[in-house]
């Protein structure tokens, strides 16, 4: 996975090389700058003369200004590189999510997907902008500096050369051992936070049971227990970074002492010694920086694991016809629909439909009934192509549905889900989504038919009213009507509708028979039905149970058949008296 993350750099190789190049160049200039410092101090201190130091001063200014500019450019190119990759990655990810489709999204945790797409990609950005360059530079900068130092003083170079691998070893130790501990630590912290969130969520339950006071003690006790366990883990976790620091500070001290000893012996010029001392902290700096970025690196890798896993997913492919058929680009309407031994099996679940065969003539409305989980929604999802059959085929005018251009097919279909989603925007925007060219008059007409127009007039901004967070400013009934209005406004001839289960609340206004009747006049309506009233409006009825087709036929046929549908109607008539 890490490899994939690193491979992302390939999209922007120049920016990455620039980031690294600027960093290395900065360290070269640093060497010269410190060298000049060494010379000036030496001439003043040892020789007590200024000589041509003024020119050297100009050199120093030039050098550190250039280093500043290099740091600026490195920062900029790192950010640019990461931002560019982020853009590419997020575009890929959003496309993949759409390709995987609503059926897949529904099975996943939506909040988690949102976080991955939004935060996760940002974390990868940090990884690319900070961690990755830091990792490369923590090798290149010390090596560059060592090469230059070698020309000045072998002993110091050797000391630094020996301590650097020690640092790396401890880095790896930190990476392996303490990262896990730190991770557990962070998890514990977020656990504590979610515990707090949990008791705040359930506060009314506590109050109803008069348990507020005991809960206060619990918060205290949990906090104290957390402090104790945390400190004992931290004592260990910080130990490795302690050793890391120790190596670099002691390294500096040893370099200084050895320089001093050789200065006394006169084996070294003061200018050289000072140069080495000034460079020593810069030698250790990249390691310290890498250590600081470690957490960002971990987060980036974790996010990348999830993102690349999603990107590697294949949309559930329909069993493509053996001989690839040419795509059909024209479709006669109204059309007939035929299911031929169609099965669909959900992953990790026994639900779905098994070997369903039926044939619906053109311009015939259909009600699908059955207990919850029987497969009603699956049949509708297959028709809207959120799902593709795992076996069998669906024929539209005797043409396999999978060979019809998806957009062409969908342009004929008005879909009304069970929990219609309302998008951010005005009510008008929400209607126009099914028909971008609809005039205001057409919109009003659709709303009149859906019995929504009068409600619109009572709203402060009418059709321009903004939808608040997924429609919380509309009642359940109004949201449902808005979805029906979409079906009226949609230019397509077929309405595929999941009637809301009224069992949620008898008091909430439900879809009215009147509207189904109206829709039927101009369109072919196929719907999962939950009420006797609407079922009886359909030309044909399909009864499913546990994924199997039980009964299918016209109202008269089914009543004559004396099966489930017949029993259902009778039971109702009895109950209604």
């Amino acid at each position: 996975m890490n490899k994939q993350l690193r491979a992302m750099v390939r999209h922007t190789p120049w920016l990455f090389f620039l980031t690294i190049g600027f960093g290395v160049m900065g360290s070269v200039l640093l060497y010269f700058q410190m060298h000049l410092y060494g010379n000036i101090v030496s001439s003043v201190f040892i020789h007590h003369s200024w000589r041509d130091n003024s020119t050297v001063l100009v050199g120093i200014v030039l050098l550190f200004s250039s280093r500043g500019l290099l740091a600026w450019s490195a920062e900029k190119s790192a950010i640019l590189m990461a931002a560019k990759n982020k853009k590419v990655l997020r575009k890929q990810l959003t496309r993949k999510l759409f390709a995987l489709g609503p059926a897949w999204v529904m099975q996943e945790d939506k909040g988690e997907l949102l976080t991955t797409t939004f935060e996760g990609v940002e974390q990868i950005e940090t990884y690319l902008a900070r961690y990755l360059p830091s990792m490369v530079l923590s090798t290149l900068i010390p090596i560059t500096l060592l090469i230059f130092l070698l020309t000045v003083d072998t002993t110091s170079t050797l000391i630094l050369f020996i301590t650097a691998p020690l640092l790396v070893v401890f880095m790896i130790l930190i990476g392996k051992k303490t990262a896990q501990k730190a991770k557990r630590e962070w998890r514990a912290l977020s656990l504590l936070s979610s515990h707090f969130h949990d008791i705040m969520q359930g506060y009314m339950t506590l109050r109803m049971f008069s348990m507020e006071k005991p809960q206060e003690d619990a918060i205290d006790a949990i906090g104290e227990a957390y402090r104790k366990t945390s400190l004992s883990t931290l004592r260990l976790a910080f130990l490795s970074s302690f050793v890391l620091e120790l190596v670099s500070t002691l390294g500096t001290a040893i370099v200084a002492v050895f320089l001093a000893l050789r200065l006394i012996d006169g084996h070294l010029t003061y200018a050289d010694a000072l140069t080495v001392l000034l460079i020593t902290p810069e030698f250790y700096l990249p390691f310290r920086q890498l250590g600081a970025q470690f957490h960002a690196g971990q987060k980036g890798v974790a996010a990348a694991n999830r993102i690349f896993a999603i990107l590697a997913l294949q949309p559930e492919a329909a069993p493509i016809e053996k001989a690839p058929l040419s795509m059909v680009h024209g479709l006669a309407m109204p059309c007939s629909i035929r299911f031929e031994h169609v099965s669909y099996h959900y992953k990790d679940s026994s639900t779905g439909i098994h070997d369903v065969t039926f044939s619906l003539p053109a311009h015939t409305s259909l009600a699908i009934i059955g207990p919850s989980g029987a497969g009603k929604s699956t049949i509708l999802s297959l028709l809207v192509r959120f799902l593709a059959p795992t076996a069998g085929r669906i024929l539209i005018n005797e043409t396999p549905l999978q060979t019809i251009d998806e957009r062409l097919w969908l342009s004929h279909i008005a879909y009304v889900g069970q929990k219609p989603h309302l998008f951010a925007g005005t009510i008008r925007d929400n209607l126009r989504i099914v028909n971008p060219h609809a005039t205001d008059e057409e919109i009003e007409n659709a709303c009149k038919m859906a019995q929504l127009h009068d409600t619109m007039l009572t709203l402060p901004d009418g059709y321009a009213t903004m939808i608040e967070e997924a429609g919380t400013n509309l009642s359940g009934g109004q949201r449902q009507r808005l979805a029906i209005a979409r079906a009226f406004l949609h230019p397509g001839e077929i309405v595929i509708m999941d009637e809301p289960t009224s069992s949620l609340d008898v008091f909430t206004e439900s879809l009215l028979e009147e509207q189904v009747l109206l829709l039927k006049q101009t369109k072919t309506v196929i719907f999962a039905a939950h009420r006797i009233g609407t079922v009886s409006l359909a030309d044909r009825v399909l009864v499913v149970d546990q994924g199997n087709l039980q009964e299918y036929g016209t109202q008269e046929e089914l009543l004559l058949q004396r099966g489930i549908y017949h029993r259902l109607m009778n039971a109702y008539k009895e109950a209604a008296g």
């Binding site: 550190f64 575009k91 339950t205 049971f209 402090r227 200084a256 902290p281 009420r531």
Partner: protein, 587 residues
């Protein structure tokens, strides 16, 4: 803000001081290491007769080297310890502040929103010590010491270094922040709308796909992504600029120290042996400014969180939560079989003119079973809140055993009831702890009996650790139905004479719902029952049904009486019977 903060931090004054001192020492040791090393080199270059003369700086270099690492270790541990102590207290304080205001806050912001916001605030504030107080304090102290040290040799060098340090630590971060304010706001706004669009795309994907709006949405997402990229690119310049100025200013300090120092040495006003040290210290001094820009960023975030919490603390308390109410009657005076009476009860919420409850009467002798039905907003929940002393009533009275509830403490009143509602919460703790909220002193056999009655005993036995199983996202997850049954067991455990079931089957599918309601009615036994429901199922078993609409009781009587009335209730009943799932019980 500062005043309240200092109260919150008061118990930790000494520890805070310790943490700041340790952090300052860490920085100062870092600087001292280089100062000593510089001095050591210079002194060695003078070729002293004996190495022994360099004994002190050699020890010093090692001491500061090891000391810095050790101090850093101690500082981190110590600061974390203070943070954990503070965190515990902070949570408790917030819990105590929010609790009594819960209903008000919920009404004002919506439960999810304010709970999330408060949790976020608490999370942000927990880093107050580590990320703000300690770094800023340490920076101030170590800067001061560096200044004192340098001024001992040259006031000019000390002054210039100090000025440049202030620039790096204060002026540049604030200047850039000011400069970056507009772009940051624009970026934030774009990110917000991108997030909304992304959320819409995921939640509304069925519609988007079905309406063929996929390309349109992807294009919108892409173009926003492009805008984000452009804004990022502009901000990259500012980020680079601040890095540039920090870099340059530290170098300028070193450069000036070199020029002035050299001048002093050449004019004999400074011993040459100190020159190296001064030059090095003026660069190393900037270690003190390292954590500052971050600290300011966090300070901004914390200020926001803190102000938000203060605004919440200013919300008025819920009824009965302000302080200990004047209790004139003891709990003992309420019998084990209380008789609750509501007479002419009216409730009007603040800022509303319409009555939420309008002259309600209810007689609930011990053992009576009453159902309350009505649509959302009919006043059912308000009635329950009044009974539980969660809200005030303006007119009428509620009495328990002829004692007016205004004379009873909320706890005494609530002890009469055991509530299961759609809002009942299953905590992310063990099964046992969840059940014991009903009765903390319940025995294991009590737990067993309650779970058996709630038909959840087999499920609990099947859990990995039985009653000790952790529930929730981190432990075993349970279905809606199972969760509600666990909460039912909790309700049963409570030895209260009156059950209140407030729409306990919200979100169930019809089959599950029927089983659950059957069990509920069976379990109620001889205790009193108030059953609020949106389903007209099994209501023939009730002694009385109250039909509410717009805060009033519009119909009341038994199931048969209400059907015979052919009114609102009968109409609803017919509507429900139309449902296919109700018609065929086998489904």
């Amino acid at each position: 803000m500062i005043a309240t903060l200092s109260i919150l931090l008061k118990p930790y004054r000494i520890r805070l001081l310790g943490s700041v001192m340790l952090a300052s020492l860490t920085t100062l040791f870092h600087i001292a290491l280089f100062a000593t090393a510089g001095y050591l080199l210079a002194a060695s270059a003078l070729h002293p007769q004996s190495v022994l003369l360099l004994w002190i700086p050699i020890i010093g270099v090692r001491f500061f080297g090891m000391g810095r690492a050790a101090l850093r270790y101690a500082e981190r541990l110590f600061t974390h310890d203070v943070t954990f102590r503070f965190l515990k207290n902070e949570r408790l304080e917030v819990f105590r502040t929010i609790g009594p205001r819960y209903l008000h806050l919920k009404a004002q912001y919506g439960q999810g929103a304010f709970v999330n916001a408060v949790t976020h605030d608490v999370d942000v504030l927990q880093f107050l010590i580590i990320r703000v107080i300690t770094p800023i304090g340490a920076s101030l102290i170590s800067t001061l010491f560096v200044f004192l040290f340098l001024s001992h040799f040259s006031l000019t060098i000390a002054m210039t270094t100090l000025l440049l340090q202030i620039s790096v630590g204060l002026i540049i971060p604030f200047g850039i922040a000011k400069f970056a304010k507009k772009p940051a706001q624009v970026l934030h706004a774009t990110r917000q709308s991108f997030y909304t669009l992304l959320q819409d795309s995921l939640s509304g994907m069925s519609e988007i796909k079905a309406y063929g709006a996929q390309e349109q949405f992807l294009e919108k997402l892409d173009s926003m992504e492009d805008t984000l990229y452009d804004q990022h690119r502009k901000n990259a310049n500012l980020d680079g600029l601040s890095l540039f100025s920090e870099n340059i200013l530290a170098n300028v300090a070193m450069f000036i120290a070199l020029i002035i120092g050299s001048g002093l040495v050449l004019h004999g006003q400074l011993l040459g042996v100190y020159l190296t040290m001064l030059v090095i210290v003026s660069l190393a001094a900037f270690e003190a400014q390292n954590g500052l820009p971050q600290a300011f960023v966090h300070f901004g975030l914390m200020k926001k969180a803190f102000q938000h919490l203060q605004a919440i603390a200013a919300t008025p308390c819920d009824q009965g939560q302000e302080s200990a109410p004047a209790v004139t009657t003891q709990h003992d005076s309420i019998t084990k079989k209380p008789h609750v009476t509501i007479k002419q009860l009216s409730v009007t919420y603040k800022d509303r003119t319409k009555k939420a409850l309008d002259t309600i009467d209810l007689d609930l002798p011990f053992g009576k079973k009453v159902a309350i039905v009505g649509e959302t907003g009919a006043g059912k929940s308000t009635l329950i809140s009044s009974l539980l002393a969660m809200i005030d009533h303006q007119e009428g009275s509620i009495t328990i055993d002829d004692i007016d509830t205004s004379k009873l403490s909320p706890d005494t009143i609530r002890r009469c009831y055991s509530v299961l509602s759609q809002e009942s919460h299953l905590f992310q703790t063990t099964v046992e702890d969840n059940l014991r909220i009903g009765e903390p002193n319940a025995s294991q056999s009590d737990l067993n009996v309650a779970s058996r009655q709630a038909h959840i005993d087999k499920r609990i036995d099947a859990m990995p650790e039985g009653y000790l199983t952790l529930l929730g996202t981190l432990g075993t997850s349970v279905s809606v139905g199972e969760a509600r049954r666990l909460m039912l067991a909790r309700t049963l455990l409570r030895p209260a004479p009156i059950f209140i079931f407030d729409e306990p089957t919200q979100g169930f599918d019809p089959v599950l719902e029927r089983n659950f309601i059957d069990d509920l009615l069976h379990i109620a036994g001889e205790r009193s029952l108030l059953f609020i429901t949106h389903r007209l199922y099994r209501l023939d078993r009730m002694d009385e049904i109250l039909v509410m609409k717009e805060g009033k009781i519009i119909e009341s009587g038994t199931h048969q009486e209400l059907l015979a009335l052919r009114g609102y209730y009968a109409q609803l009943f017919d509507l429900q019977e139309q449902e296919i799932s109700c018609t065929l019980p086998s489904w």
